[in-house]
């Protein structure tokens, strides 16, 4: 298909979609309206189960099965990247030479690293109480490790980040989520039902039944997944070279 034909096809399809979309948007409930039946019920269910952060309750209690699907996508993406970005037969590994890092960069990176790591863990741990949770905190914790790459060099990063361990951690976290779900089944109710643990005192770390457990599992999986993904890409950029190296 030539470029011209493709553009025409896009123009026709886009115009059609735009017309239908505008017609639909004009018929939608007005912005900021007071009628949110699902939202109101979600808030009610969350408060009944002593979970202060309603979004965590939606993710890890009311729609926990959906989150299992999301985790599976995450896991599959990591496995796929691992397969696609492996070292092939016509490539070899070059040890990267130590790089000189500007002193202010080194100082600030090493200063921020522990703060960022702690912030990530804090955001994961307080997922059921305050804005945040496993998904966001996992990304913060994983990226904080990579400040070592900026502040020191690639070898230092590799020493604190054995990729195999994080791959195992990724798999364990996914299994932990499923096992917590099965506990609901054994407890006599349903898969991933939040009925196994007491709901605890509202607005404390242990409140919300299984929400903190599932939240922690997701946090661990996201952190491990991001570390493994970045490791694969960094390997391609820094270590793996074309040719057999002879």
């Amino acid at each position: 298909m030539s470029r011209r034909v493709r553009l025409w096809l896009l123009a026709v399809g886009g115009a059609g979609l735009a017309t239908l979309f505008v017609a639909a948007a004009l018929d939608l409930p007005a912005l900021g309206g007071d009628h949110h039946p699902y939202g109101d019920r979600a808030v009610h269910a969350s408060l009944a189960r002593h979970t202060a952060n309603v979004i965590a309750s939606v993710n890890f209690d009311q729609r926990a099965f959906d989150t299992l699907g999301e985790m599976t996508i995450l896991f599959a993406a990591v496995v796929g990247c691992g397969v696609l970005l492996r070292q092939t037969r016509d490539e070899h590994r070059d040890r990267p030479a130590p790089e000189k890092v500007a002193r202010p960069v080194r100082r600030h990176a090493l200063l921020v690293l522990p703060v960022a790591l702690l912030t990530g863990l804090y955001v994961i741990a307080h997922g059921q109480l305050s804005p945040g949770g496993g998904f966001q905190g996992g990304v913060v914790a994983a990226t904080s490790l990579h400040l070592l790459y900026l502040g020191a060099d690639y070898r230092a990063l590799e020493r604190v980040r054995p990729v195999g361990l994080y791959e195992t951690g990724d798999a364990i976290a996914t299994s932990a989520y499923v096992v917590t779900g099965l506990a609901g089944l054994i407890g006599g109710t349903a898969f991933l039902a939040n009925t196994v643990l007491p709901y605890g005192t509202f607005n404390t770390l242990s409140s919300g039944g299984t929400v903190p457990l599932l939240n922690a599992a997701v946090g661990m999986e996201v952190a491990c997944a991001v570390v493994v993904l970045l490791a694969r890409f960094l390997d391609q950029a820094v270590e793996i070279e074309e040719g057999n190296g002879k």
Partner: protein, 116 residues
Amino acid sequence: MMDVFPYLVAGWVFLAGCYGLATSRNLIHAVGCLSVCQAATYVLLLTVGYRDGATAPVFSDLKPGSRPVVDPVVQALTLTDVVVGATVTALLLALVVQVSKRHGTVDPDELSELRG
């Protein structure tokens, strides 16, 4: 007008992403355009959940029932998709790395010629 404006922004962002995808001459650019399309769904979802004068649906420092809160369901959908979308983007970029190694180009038009 303000009532539908955010919906229209979502549609516009989506179509802009589609235009980029169709006219892309670089696969990395195409992956970026796909992320733009995805971002349009976030705008749409958050718009659907918006409520006038409401605050975040988090009750750690808010007395339940004292203020209206925005719809938490669409926020939860958006937040999971942001992270999952990022990893899927990583998978697509890994595919681009392989395409570039095997075919020596990242222009989608040249790729179809190579396959023949």
